[in-house]
Subunit: 299 residues, 2 copies
Amino acid sequence: MAYTRTFGQIPGHPEGSTYRTREELRMAGLHAHNQAGISGTPRDGADAIVLNGGYPDDHDEGDLIIYTGQGGQNGRKEQIADQRYEKGNAGLVLSQYEGFPVRVIRGHEEESLHAPLTGYRYDGLYRVVRHWFKKRADGYRVLQFRMVKIGSMYDIQDLGDLESDEYSDSSTTGPVSRIESVVARLARKASVVRNIKDWYENRCQICREAIQLPTGPASQVAHIQGLGVPHNGPDHESNALCLCPNDHLRFDYGAIYLTDDLKVVEAATGTVMCHLYVDRRHAIGLDYVRQHRSYWSQE
Amino acid sequence: MAYTRTFGQIPGHPEGSTYRTREELRMAGLHAHNQAGISGTPRDGADAIVLNGGYPDDHDEGDLIIYTGQGGQNGRKEQIADQRYEKGNAGLVLSQYEGFPVRVIRGHEEESLHAPLTGYRYDGLYRVVRHWFKKRADGYRVLQFRMVKIGSMYDIQDLGDLESDEYSDSSTTGPVSRIESVVARLARKASVVRNIKDWYENRCQICREAIQLPTGPASQVAHIQGLGVPHNGPDHESNALCLCPNDHLRFDYGAIYLTDDLKVVEAATGTVMCHLYVDRRHAIGLDYVRQHRSYWSQE
């Protein structure tokens, strides 16, 4: 039977439903394939993933998942090549871009507290909030995705440009509830946003344009090194840039990166496009610039 | 006591907490003012609103609120002037732009099933997802905001570019659950997005630029007339544009609008900037163009 790709919840298959086999999942319309982890294509986007222990770089905290893309492994699940933007990988990037919900299915082979003991379990809808290339210790590059459960606290923190630190931070400051922790972070974030926008008067540090809205000039504050697991970049001016939405998109999706002397490089060609404009009050952290570049540069 | 503006939940004041007076709300740190509906400034953003029956244009469906901005009324709550981007109004626009959560407080004077019988009740965190000017029957322009409760079904539908029709639509198609309704809409939306992007190869209909990402060219599909309450624009190609993120932002925030012959006008000056590029397969609905223009043009 052909698989009909549907985004979101599938009627008759509520969260928590269990399945004995991949074929049952496929027949239920939950996931297109019997082997591949990602149900999706570059043109359609991805509608579902299976977490089943196939990649050691995965990281499952329940409502927050770091998911590794597909490809580059041999039959013994050893990495023998770089992963690329293709098939399901490109599908998950499109789902991030369009905000499509992705069904998460966990299998019993996943080594995680969240895995079912047998078979497979549908665990609800997640959003892809970021992706990047990780260079593994063996030198191969794998694609990774930060996914948060829709409606969870991670989702609330990741709304818009608001992103979370790792929750375990809060253990260092005593018994602080998740909600209180969110409040503290939002307050801190607002001051960084205001400083960056003030310094540049909302002009993009790359194209020098400020978007003129009826309410005044507008820009976006981008983080150089991502906040939250696994990058844990700080929510500080030294890790932030003032960008227009177009250049913010290019920066976050790896179309451009920065050199140590803050030139803007087009990733596809390695060409220097321009100098980043930097206000004298703005001390940009080179460590963050280097980590961002490591995700996207082929070097 | 001075008010400290905090975004998000306030420790010790969970959702559902009740207060006898506006002063109690202020002392609790929930809302800055004893009179004004919006707690916020153009520079800080807005952290809270009170719904208390002050504006007949408000519309409260619980998890979905159409909220009217402040200003332009006399002491007898009669509209005597246009509302403008100022004070709390500009604060709510900034909260939309930055994705700040806004506390919603309902008062007993609100004429709604959702209002408390006495005093005031804190009803949780909402996101501002859109704003526009409404021209009332008496000729005055008021600012309105679509707000959805974070984590609610409306919020899930409003994720990214995905926006909802009115739920009551589903009553015309028989007993369809909310979840099923979401699935159907997402599926429909994906086809509109794909067609629009195909026709324009992701080039912006205004600036003609396609954002080049490592995964390929990218664009955003904008709706001309907003989906969902209260505009109820259709999720159809005739109500959609292919735009770059910068021009999408300008279009949604009313910096530009279209004439009947599809010229692009800068709202601040009334100057024609360029012609909208239109593919021959793309029949744009003039009704939608006119409604969008009615929100933003001063005519």
